[in-house]
Amino acid sequence: MKYLIIGNSAAAVGAVEGIRQIDKSGQITVISSEPHHTYSRPLISYLLLGKTDRQKMRYRPDDFYSVNGCECIFGKNVLSINVKNKTVSLDDGRSICYDKLLIATGSVPFIPETEGQEKVKNSFTFMSLDDADALGKAINAGSRVLIIGAGLIGLKCAEGIAGRVKSITVVDLSDRVLSSILDAEGSEILGRHIESKGISFILGQSVLRYGENEALLSKGGSVPFDVLVTAVGVRPNTSLLSAIEPSYERGIVTDDEMHTVIPDVYAAGDCTQSLDVSSGKNRVLALLPNAYRQGECAGISMAGGKKPFDRAVPMNAIGFFGLHVVTAGSYTGEVFERKAEGSYKKLFYDKGFLKGFIMIGDVNKAGIYTSLIQNGIPLSDIDFELVCEKPSLMAFSRKYRDEKLGGVRQ
């Protein structure tokens, strides 16, 4: 059996480990346009910050590919897939055949068309190790950095370089920071914290036009800068399949074993859509835990096993300048709220089920809440009042504890 994986990140690694659970000898080829050993993409900001290094940020040990018997083709781009002949063609002219193909091509940054953008010389995105290296080289203690986008990637970038530049200004169209995962109050807390570290926000505005070292804003005024980072969002990288299936624009659609509608072609990770059980809707969950788990399920399925991918929820754990934030699920329904000095918690529940939550500061045992959402545990089965106050197994039935802690088989 010849397995071919396009991509070399979380979903691809999940697939290699999934395949090897079932098939110890089939030939695995991993192709990636990035010329690196698999690394943790979220750590690129920690690399700039000096909290990790190139060796430590490797997502798997140095011998990962040899232990798993993978042939690596790195630094090469797959240009197209021929599903009839079951081959892919590379940018060096080679053609590689497969029996089972996995598309784990991840995300690409979204860059809005803005007048004058071609004039900006020091313009970066913040998606890859090479991006981080290039940005690291471009900045110095005198740099004025403009970051477009106050989402996860823009803010992580700001944290990564904060100690190394003169100033950082973050502009976002939304009137609050991290609007995709926080409510207004949470945004306020986090925004204030980040501001207190010397980062300036210009919110509710976009860039109308760029000059070489200046951005003109939509509501008037301008920001001078030396270095520009665009981080307004990511899109699923579906280009290889959208040539074949145009409807995949908003994430490749698969069944729960990560099989696409094309025979022997699977997809996993940021490039796909998945069913978010907290909302019941299909959406792109561009998050690493999701990517790994999808990749593993795809690998198992490609090797002839069966492990459906399910129980997906959006979940974020992220810290900025020492303040921790964890969130999961959807923010619908009734709300339970607790605020204390330095911590903030909101739980959202609807029709007897926990749907989502936000915790800032104290994130202890948050996974107990996540499990209530992921496993659809009826709140009537637990002591909901207690669990609201404090995530704990005490709130669960004795039977649940006997099974989970006591190892009693039901």
Binding site: P42, K56, L288, P289, V326, A328, V363, N364, L405
Partner: protein, 143 residues
């Protein structure tokens, strides 16, 4: 593999397991000296309310959501035991968000900590179990 199991009805809520755990992870010889004036951060924790108490520590799950969610590759499985490479961990707490039992916590270094069945410190003999006076936590292979 052998795992730590909890017999809830035998737990006295004495918290000794927490002390033995914290001590085991100091690498020191004298418990009193090791823990003197120390705010302990054990990897096993007692939950208690009214007359119910029980210890919670890592289940070393067959489907370890923490390992699969770890964004850095710092969590992995070695001979069945879920272990943490604290050097790689940046303390993002995705594992805390993923663990259904609340069994992962923050260490004083900022990285996470969790029960590793004393594999690194006491030849794989969990000290919480060894120190429990009432057999409320046991270390057994139940398949």
């Amino acid at each position: 593999m052998k795992r730590v199991y909890v017999n809830e009805k035998w737990c006295l809520g004495c918290h000794l397991c927490e002390y033995y755990c914290a001590f085991a992870n100091t690498g020191m010889k004298d418990m009193a000296k090791a823990l003197c004036n120390l705010e302990i951060r054990p990897r096993i924790r007692i939950e208690e309310q009214d007359d119910i108490s029980f210890a919670v520590s890592c289940r070393h799950c067959d489907e370890p959501l923490c390992v699969k969610s770890c964004i850095t590759g710092a969590l992995s499985r070695e001979n069945g035991v879920i272990v943490i490479d604290s050097d790689k961990c940046v303390g993002c707490f995705t594992c805390i968000l993923a663990c259904p039992y609340g069994a992962i916590s923050q260490s004083e270094t900022g990285a996470i900590q969790k029960c590793e069945l004393c594999a690194k410190t006491n030849d794989g003999i969990p000290q919480c179990v060894a120190g429990c006076p009432n057999g409320a936590i046991v270390f057994e292979d139940r398949g």
